[in-house]
Amino acid sequence: MVRSLHFPSKTPSVSRFLFYSFFKTLVGQQVTVELKNDLAITGVLISVDQFLNIKLDEIKVVDEARYPHMIPVKNCFIRGSVVRYVQLPAQAVDTALLQDAARREAQQPTTAQQGNVRVK
């Protein structure tokens, strides 16, 4: 597997791609997803999409005593918008590459920079 972040050169909203590409490089890693309702789930990252929806397998709820109904659940789909944090294995993250990607993305003009954001 090629572990690199690459972006299509002429995307109008590059913003969508940085973390999507980043999470794709973490597929197969064990992560802990903490939701906005405080439920935290550890599992293997199976897939991610552009909304940062996440599929996890071999899951284990961090505080099982508080959420006993989750014990039989073995895999799950998490809507991106309910995520607060994702704890990542540090050794799986190339921080220099990430920073470069973030800087490169910052150079793209955004709709906000253009000033007039019109809604039809």
Binding site: S15, L18, G80, Y85, Q87, L88, R103, A106, Q107, R118
Partner: protein, 109 residues
């Protein structure tokens, strides 16, 4: 998202060269890459960590993070408010931008 259109008369500016000038608010965040920053989040949470990545939504990846959660407990007998802070650490943390209230870079005095 498709209903947001840039004004047709506005020419798309050429990508600005990377500078140290703060011309738009996100420049403050850009200039904090590879620095330790302070982030205030919804739910009385604060983070301190090294900024490795961010995007326009304020999604971020932080390294060597210390999280401080402020909890207000009510004493059941006296109804006094007891303020307590809980600290947690993580090596590498993705933070979803919609919870972000404020980002403060290290002071560049």
């Amino acid at each position: 998202m498709s209903d947001v259109v840039p004004a047709p008369t506005t020419a798309v500016p050429a990508p600005a060269p990377e500078t140290n000038a703060v011309e738009e608010p996100l420049d403050l965040v850009r200039l904090s890459l590879d620095e330790r920053i302070y982030v205030k989040l919804r739910g009385d949470r604060e983070l301190r960590g090294k900024l490795h990545a961010y995007d326009g939504h304020l999604n971020m990846v932080l390294g060597d993070v210390e999280e401080t959660i402020t909890v207000v407990d009510i004493n059941e007998e006296t109804y006094e408010e007891v303020i307590r802070t809980v600290k947690r650490n993580s090596e590498m943390l993705f933070v979803r931008g919609d919870g972000v209230i404020l980002v403060s870079p290290p002071s560049r005095a």
